[in-house]
């Protein structure tokens, strides 16, 4: 049982620099919470505040209903996996894993049983006699996780534990971590700058930027309904495409969005209540249209979806084509930026060809250019 609550938590490094600003969050028992954001956004600082490694300048940290601002790290009942693993270089793998238990003066045979039990789960039994210097990155990482889970902490903190691994191992460890979360049945707070990790691992994602929380929610809900330009652009790979547009209310309750700086007229329509909402507030003004690469189609598929009217003729031909096996990504230059389109692998469009693209406007987002907020998300 572990409930963590952060109330207006601030971390100030000096009079002008904030690591974390006015941070409010409730973490419930057995959640897998991900702090995600670009480097320097305060995600690691927040994790270290929860661990007790960083003092809180202002605000309150509650652990299980107890004000814990001034609790020593060892009194918080948490364990942590560090980015560089922080293995004790003078101890063997066995010694590393047993350290936290030895300090608690557990009987030797019990320590021995637990170490072997955890080593078995993580498949590192054959490494128990080695020292960290003789381990590979992936093995070190397993030992670090093993040392953390061995004493069944209330909360499990992880600071970018996969960032030093190669892509294949990382994908493998992601699966293992999800499995581990189910097995351990405990709260995990996980810091990463990698949006794929955030999307695949978390039950709750906290997107951060410049020390401020941007959005909190389930991965799918944040992906589908990003509250602002930053969140929309940060989650998803390739990231969402943005276009500056001018709103024009037309007949039949249709609202047109005209792409700015276009050589020819490029127009897409928003219908129904969404269209009306935009037309009422922004008619004649600029907005930013956001559409994900997978919500843009070529003619054949657009016909199937019945969206063949929302076409945009791109000015420039395809500049790059990435064949990823299960999908093809085409890149165009539009409004001086790269426009990415994700298509099915059967698509044969080659570099240098010009095509018409069809936007699935049901899935499009519209952002206010000044506040950068998503107009459709309250």
């Amino acid at each position: 049982m572990s409930e963590i609550a952060l109330r207006n938590v601030c971390k100030q490094f000096d009079s002008e620099h904030y690591g974390v600003k006015d941070f409010n969050l409730d973490i419930h028992d057995k959640e897998f919470v991900i702090f995600v954001g670009p480097s320097g956004c305060g995600k690691s600082t927040t994790l270290r505040i929860i661990a007790g490694l960083e003092e809180i300048t202002d605000g309150e940290l509650w652990i299980d209903g107890e004000l814990s601002n001034y609790l020593e790290p060892k009194e918080r009942g948490m364990s942590m996996v560090f980015q560089n693993y922080a293995l004790y270089p003078n101890m063997t793998v066995y010694g590393n894993m047993a350290y936290a238990l030895k300090i608690r003066k557990l009987p030797k045979d019990e320590i021995d049983r637990k170490v072997h039990e955890v080593a078995k789960i993580l498949e590192i039994e054959q490494l128990l006699d080695r020292r960290p210097a003789a381990l590979s990155g992936g093995q070190k990482q397993r030992v670090a996780i093993g040392s953390a889970i061995i004493r069944k902490p209330k909360v499990f903190l992880m600071d970018e534990p996969l960032s030093n691994l190669d892509a294949k191992l990382r994908a493998q460890m992601r699966v293992e971590l999800v499995k581990l979360h189910k097995q351990l049945d405990t709260t995990i707070i996980y810091v990463t700058h990698d949006q794929t990790e955030a999307m695949t691992l978390g039950t709750k994602i906290v997107v951060m930027k410049d020390g401020l929380i941007q959005q909190v929610g389930a991965p799918q809900s944040i992906y589908d309904n990003p509250v602002n330009l930053f969140v929309a652009g940060f989650l998803g790979s390739p990231s969402m495409n943005f276009f500056r547009c001018t709103v024009k209310a037309e007949e039949n309750n249709r609202t047109a969005l005209l792409l700015d700086d276009a050589k020819t007229v490029k127009k897409v329509y928003l219908d129904g209540t969404r269209g009306k909402q935009i037309a009422d507030r922004y008619n004649g003004r600029h907005v930013i249209l956001g559409i994900r690469p997978e919500d843009i189609y070529e003619l054949d598929e657009a016909k199937k979806l019945g969206i063949e009217n929302d076409s945009v003729d791109v000015d420039e031909p395809v500049v790059n084509r990435e064949m990823l096996g299960a999908e093809v990504i085409l890149y165009f230059d539009e409004q001086g930026k790269t426009l990415a389109v994700r298509l099915s692998p059967e698509n044969q469009t080659q570099v240098g060809e010009k095509v018409s693209l069809y936007f699935d406007m049901e899935k499009a987002h519209v952002f206010d250019p000044e506040t950068e907020e998503n107009i459709f998300v309250p």
């Binding site: 790290p73 293995l87 004790y88 270089p89 003078n90």
Partner: protein
């Protein structure tokens, strides 16, 4: 062919300056010492009468020399343990960031920059039985440097303090090499600072600790200046360490043969201790 023989000689030519200096100041005196230790000499230090191992036999039967050995061992023990402890404690204290840390760091490293003779002069005044600050502060009335019970300890503590400066530097460098995050992990794991010191800091320092130990032992055996100034081997030979005894035999008593034999014995002692320590290091310090 000329080219070939030239390229064979060239490497040796590069070694000449170094070998010349070593030869004049190290190898020649060393061999000469061994040579002299087998002779009785005249007052000019010239070998006159071959006595074989006679000088050594005499030394090992002399109560004064046995006392010298004992005094030296006690002295080395106090100096090495004290000097390393001072340095280690200071380095650990200065490993935390707080305002004014540089002032402390500099003062802990300062003994390194003080000549042993000037430090000895300062100690002489501090330990003066009538006007010295030590007696004034403690309210005691001890003639520190003239009492056979305290003289050796005083000289040894002074030497330990002098050596602590360089030890502080070594240990500071060693502490800087220990990864900060293992302490963070240890504190989350639940280790107290004392537990962290013994399970992480000390093992982390072990490679540099070994090096420092070897250097300190050798240095301690060779201490001379402060003894010459403070006690001149007295009172009652209580501070007559081997190096001072060598100096006295050679330059007061003009018994160069005996002094040379003592030098050789000192060399053998230091060599054996160093070899033993390197042997132990191969087993002990490893990660």
């Amino acid at each position: 062919m000329g080219n070939n023989s030239k390229s064979k000689i060239t490497p040796y030519l590069y070694l000449v300056p170094c070998m010349l200096i070593f030869g004049i100041f190290l190898f020649y005196p060393f061999l000469k010492t061994i040579y002299l230790s087998l002779y009785k000499t005249n007052k000019m230090g010239q070998a006159k009468l071959y006595v074989g191992l006679g000088n050594y036999k005499e030394l090992l039967q002399s109560a004064s020399f046995i006392n010298s050995l004992k005094v030296t061992l006690i002295f080395v023990l106090i100096v090495v343990v004290g000097g390393m402890l001072f340095g280690l404690i200071a380095a650990v204290l200065c490993n935390k960031a707080f305002p004014g840390i540089r002032v402390f760091s500099t003062s802990y490293a300062l003994p390194m920059a003080i000549a042993s003779s000037s430090a000895a002069m300062i100690f002489q005044i501090m330990l003066h039985p009538a006007v010295g600050i030590v007696n004034k502060l403690t309210g005691l009335d001890i003639n520190w440097l003239n009492d056979p019970n305290t003289a050796l300890i005083c000289v040894a503590i002074l030497t330990a303090w002098l050596n602590s400066g360089i030890n502080f530097l070594y240990f500071s460098a060693g502490l800087g090499n220990i990864d900060e995050t293992i302490y963070e992990r240890a504190s989350v794991d639940g280790a107290s600072s004392v537990q962290q010191f013994f399970s992480l800091t000390l093992p982390g320092l072990s490679p540099i600790m070994f090096y420092t130990l070897v250097v300190n032992i050798i240095q301690a055996f060779q201490s001379f200046g402060q003894i010459k100034i403070l006690t001149e081997g007295g009172p009652n030979e209580s501070t007559n360490v081997i190096v001072y005894s060598i100096y006295r035999d050679a330059f007061f008593n003009y018994r160069f043969g005996s002094a040379a034999a003592q030098s050789v014995i000192l060399f053998v002692i230091i060599m054996i201790i160093t070899l033993i320590m390197f042997r132990i290091e191969k087993k002990g310090v490893n990660y």
